[in-house]
């Protein structure tokens, strides 16, 4: 998996005297969902932000399709946990914001894409609503739709479902997995929730405590396959995998997530 679409080449990051990410070499495949799992504040988010061009590596570099990442652009979109959608824009305009700076799309094309994503995320009935009138789950759907509308190839998701209730969270996990397969996107998903990681991931990269370094690389797709219906959570394989990851975390990182 070394010659992946997203490549970390000796990437390291420190903020002043504090080492946040130790020298990392890692390749992530295109059209796959990779979960960065690790204890809170371990530096996994920083690693992901560097893919987005929002933080700069202190040494080494990050390649996207063989090209060095310098600064943010719309090929890599962010989805945050909070402040994910603009409160002053309606659902429709929030999604349109993703296409706002695209000069390559005509008005008709933008409208078509808008319709597509409103439908895809079941947001059509809320098109004219402001974010404070819709549920937290809906707001996260808006954020993902906006990123896809922008035409991002890589989605960088920073604990996007962290603030949602359990049921909404499950539903969004199922949807995200389906959308990832359907839209053929590469997703880096940061979380500290083991269940979520195993359910969503093609591959889990487990990080140590700060400074982050890779302690395990788990091929989840080989065990669970690409399709993730909700029932998969009740299978023996899922349990075993989850327990394996939990053990790894306890043994390798010495941390309680």
């Amino acid at each position: 998996m070394k010659n992946g679409y997203v490549q970390f080449v000796g990437t390291a990051k420190s903020f002043g005297p504090v080492d946040v990410v130790r020298k990392t070499d890692l390749g992530l495949d295109r059209n796959s969902l990779v979960v960065f799992l690790g204890p809170s504040g371990c530096g996994k988010t920083t690693l992901m932000r560097m893919v987005g061009g929002l933080d700069e590596p202190s040494s080494g570099s990050i390649l996207l399709g063989g090209e060095k990442v310098v600064g943010p652009d719309r090929r890599r979109g962010m989805v945050f946990q909070s402040y994910s959608s603009f409160p002053w824009l309606t659902v429709e305009k929030n999604i349109a914001f993703g296409m706002r700076y695209r000069k390559d799309l005509g008005v008709a094309e933008k409208a078509e894409r808008m319709r597509h994503y409103l439908e895809l995320f079941g947001l059509a009935d809320f098109a004219g609503s402001y974010p404070n009138r819709i549920s937290g789950g809906m707001r996260q759907r808006v954020a993902i739709a906006r990123t896809l509308a922008a035409g991002s190839d890589v989605l960088l998701m920073d604990e996007p479902f962290g603030a949602l209730d359990a049921l909404t969270r499950e539903r969004l996990q199922v949807e995200l997995r389906q959308i990832q397969i359907r839209e053929e996107k590469t997703i880096i998903f940061v979380t500290h929730d083991v269940e979520e990681a195993v359910f969503l991931a093609d591959r889990i990269i487990l990080f140590s405590r700060r400074p982050a370094s890779v302690v395990a690389d788990i091929d989840v797709a080989a065990e669970l396959g690409p399709q993730r219906p909700l029932e998969i959570r009740e299978t023996q394989k899922f349990f075993e995998l989850r327990n394996k990851v939990l053990h790894l975390i306890r043994n390798e990182t010495g941390a309680i997530v």
């Binding site: 987005g52 652009d73 719309r74 979109g77 962010m78 402040y83 603009f86 914001f97 706002r100």
Partner: protein, 278 residues
Amino acid sequence: MPAAVSDGRCFDHPGIAILFSSLFVFRGRASPMAESAVSVAAAALIVAGWELAARAGVIAPQFLPSPSRVVIALWTMLTEQNLVWHVVVSTARVWIAFLLAAAMAIPIGIMMSSYRIVGAALEPMIDFIRYLPVPALVPLSIIWFGVGEETKIFLLWLGTFFQLVLLVADDMRRVPQEFVEVARTVGATSRQVMTDVALRWMGPTLIDNLRITLGWCWTYLIIAEIVAADSGIGYVIWTARRFVKTPEVMAGVVVIGLIGLVTDQLLRLLHRRLFRYL
């Protein structure tokens, strides 16, 4: 027989008793109607008490004239002493200085929080000037600008600009980093982040801050008009004081209060209209 008679409630309108009893519940909610009724009644009670105290001669009229005498004074000032003209002059002074301060404070405040070089250069200076009391600068202002309009505008500007610029800088600093980064990752330039995200996010607090600083502007106006003016409400009040025309002094104060109230309500309305999404 209805049981309502015996429990002491108003039999004809049992609703009214319930409406008002909820006013006495700890942290309770009352209907807006009941609350307005209480507000009006309380104000009326104060005015009535004042009128009675004045008429009974408890306090000498040159100290506390009755409300009716204040209203009469107000009427005379309106019809015979060109009060409207003075109000217009004062309002114009406030708005010119205020708009000038806002037009400078908004871009400078935004730049202070956007680019460290601007912030580092200006913040200590502005912080220092902000603590200088405006009245202390009146003599200097008169030496610089004389006693004309420039002095008044300068003093009002001085009192608002340095406060507002720091408030704006603070608002800009509080724009969530997430919003900025989302915009950057969909292809916005720094300038577009500023206009399409930061300014939009700041909107509601900016209007609030403008509303508050406009109020301060009126405070400084009276100081400026008392010191050096031959027009404006401050001048009217100060002149009336010289002849111990207490009703006129009070009428002048009431006029300022009314202008403040009206302006504030208008700006609140604007706030609600502009930011329906809140």
